[in-house]
Symmetry: C2
Amino acid sequence: MRRHYATIKDIAHALNISVSTVSRALRDTYDVSADTRKLVLDMAMKLNYKPNFNATGLVKNSTHNLAVILPGITNYYFSTVFTGIQEIAYSHNYNIILYVTNDDADRELNIIRNLSFSSLDGLLVSVSSQAGSCDHFQEIIDDGIPVVFFDRVAADIRTSKVMQDDYNGAFEATTHLIANGYKKIAHIAGPEGLTFTDSRLKGYLDALSKHGMPIRKKWIIHSGFTQECGESDMEKLWKLNDKPDAVFAVNDRKAVGAIVTLKKKNIAVGKDVGVIGFTNDPMSAIISPSLSTIAEPAFEIGKKSCQLLLNHIRKKNFIPEEIILPGKLIVRESSIRS
Amino acid sequence: MRRHYATIKDIAHALNISVSTVSRALRDTYDVSADTRKLVLDMAMKLNYKPNFNATGLVKNSTHNLAVILPGITNYYFSTVFTGIQEIAYSHNYNIILYVTNDDADRELNIIRNLSFSSLDGLLVSVSSQAGSCDHFQEIIDDGIPVVFFDRVAADIRTSKVMQDDYNGAFEATTHLIANGYKKIAHIAGPEGLTFTDSRLKGYLDALSKHGMPIRKKWIIHSGFTQECGESDMEKLWKLNDKPDAVFAVNDRKAVGAIVTLKKKNIAVGKDVGVIGFTNDPMSAIISPSLSTIAEPAFEIGKKSCQLLLNHIRKKNFIPEEIILPGKLIVRESSIRS
DNA sequence: AAATTCACCGAGAACGTTACCGGTGGATTC
DNA sequence: GAATCCACCGGTAACGTTCTCGGTGAATTT
C-alpha cells in the first residue's frame, strides 16, 4: 500500500507555525528568520519531506520536465546526443521525458497530440524521416511552448536549431575520395525531403562539380538509414553497367552495409572500391577494412540543444538561434588505395 | 509568451454548465446525458482543451509517469531494453522519465534522492555497477512505490525482477568452447558483486568442472564492461606464462576488445584462440572474424519489465515475480577451429 | 514620547481537477 | 394520487503548494 508522504502542512503542524512560513523557509526566499528556517529544514529532513511537483507545477505553471522526441535510440548517434542532453538537464535539475517514434510519422503526430504541455517546460525534437507536414510543431510553437530542433530539423519552422555541418562534411568526404584517385563516386543517401539528407547530397554534388567529376543520376540512391538499406543500395549500384568505384554513404550504418555486400562479392574495399561514411559510429573502427568517416559531434549537439532550450525557457521573447557544429574527417582503411 | 490553455472551467463557462458536469463528460464516466457530453466534447475540441496532469495528479495521487534508471544508453543492450519498455508504456499511455547514471553510484543515489514520487507511479531500475549499498531502493519500496529491477538486479531486495538466463547462457557458451576443442579457457568478467556477473562466472566454472577442465584463478579477470576493459584484460592474460587458448567474455563489447588485441598480435582468432561473447550486439556480426555469442532477449526484457511494473501499479499487494528469459547460442567464426 | 521603519509571520485565495453529496424534475410504481 | 425511483446536474471541499496582502511587535528615528 502506498504510504502518504509528509507535506508542507505536516511540517507546519509539527512546528506549530503556518504553512506560508514553511513554504518560504524551504525555498529560502525572504521574510523568515534563521532560527525558524533551521527548525523547518530539520523537521523536513526528519519527516522525509519531498516536494510535490504536481502542486508546485500547478501554481507556478512550470514543472521541471523537458520532453525529447527521437526517431529511435538504438544507434550510436541518437543515444549519444541523448546522453549530452541528459548531462545538461541533470546539472540544471530538469527531468527528461523521452519518446521514441520508431521513425513513424503517425506515431510522432500521436505523441505530439497527447503531450501535456501543462507539465512540460519545453521540447527537444529530431523529426521522423517520413515527416509529412510539420503543422503540429508550428501549433505548439504558436502556443508559446519553447521548442528546439536538432539534427533532423523542420526547415520551414522558425525556432532554434542545432545541427552538424552536413554540407561541409559531405563536401570534405567527397573531396577526400577524389584526392585518393577514385573517379566514379556514388552516393547512397537518406530519404528525400529531410534537411540534412539534402545538405549532404548538395555537399557531395558541389565537390564533384568543383573537381570536374562526372555526376550520374543512377549513382545517387535514396532509401532509409539502416545497414540493410545500405546493403540493398549497394546491390543496386552493382547491377549497373557503369559501376562506381567509390561510395559516399549518408551515415556509417549504410556504409557498413555497403562494405558487407562488397566483401560478399570479394571486392577489395579500399583498393577496388572506396567507401566513406558519416557519423563515426564505433562500428566504423571495428569493421575491417576500417571505415573512413566524418565524425559528428553528437554529444556536443545534445548539450548545446539542451542549453539552448533552457535559455529559451528562461528568457521570454528569446530570439531563435541556429547553431552548426563542425565535423572532422577521419581517414581509415576503406578510402585508401595503397 | 506562453499562452494559457483552455481549462475545464472555460468549457463550463462557454456552455453555461457546471465544471463537475464537464469533468464527468470528458472522462465519460456516469451521470451525464449523451447530448451534453457531445456538447462538451465539441467545445473541448474547439477550445483545444488539454487536460492538466498536474491537477489530476494532485487529486488522484497518480500521474501517468514511470521513471527508468539506467547505467547508460549508448550501447545496444540498454537502448534495446529501453525501446521495449517504451513500447509497452506507449501502448498504455504512460510517459517515461529517463535517468542515466553513467555507472556512477553517487549519481545514482543523487537521482534517487531527488526523485519526486508524487509525480511518479513506478520505477524501473538497472543498478550501477559500482553499487555499494542498496538501502535507498529498500526505502522506496518500503514507502510503497512499485519498483521492478531488470538485468542488473539488487539481490537482497524483495521486489519483481526480470533478467536473462545468465547462468545457463554462460554454461552453454563455455561448453561450446570445450566442444570445439579449446582446453584452456579464460573468462574476462564484469565487476564483482553484480548479480549477473556472478551468475555468468558460476555458469563458466560449472561448465569447466563438469567436463574436467582446468580452473585457474589467473584466467579469471574482473573489470568494467567497455571494449577498452576487454582489451586490457586480454593484454593481462597474454602476459601470463600459461596462456589460455580461449576466452569467454561477459559481454560482446569486451569480447570485441579481446579480438582487437589478439588481431594486433597477429594471433588467428578462432584457429589459435577462441572467443565467445554475450549479448548479440550487432557489432558481433560485423567484426571479422565474426563473434560467436549468446543472444540476449533485450527487447523482451524491456517489455516484460514494463508489463510487470504496470501490473504492480494496478494491483495493490502485488506479489513480486522473478522472470528469467532464455538466451540463445549463436555460433560464428570466432569460436570455430577449422 | 511619538512616529516611523523593519523583520518576521499568518490568513486566505488561487492553480485545475476530481470526489462526494445533495437536489431537481419527470417517469414509474402501488 | 401519493410514494418511490431514476437520470441528470450543481455546489463544495479537497489535493499540496505559492503568492499577495495585512498585521504584529520590536527597534530605530525625530
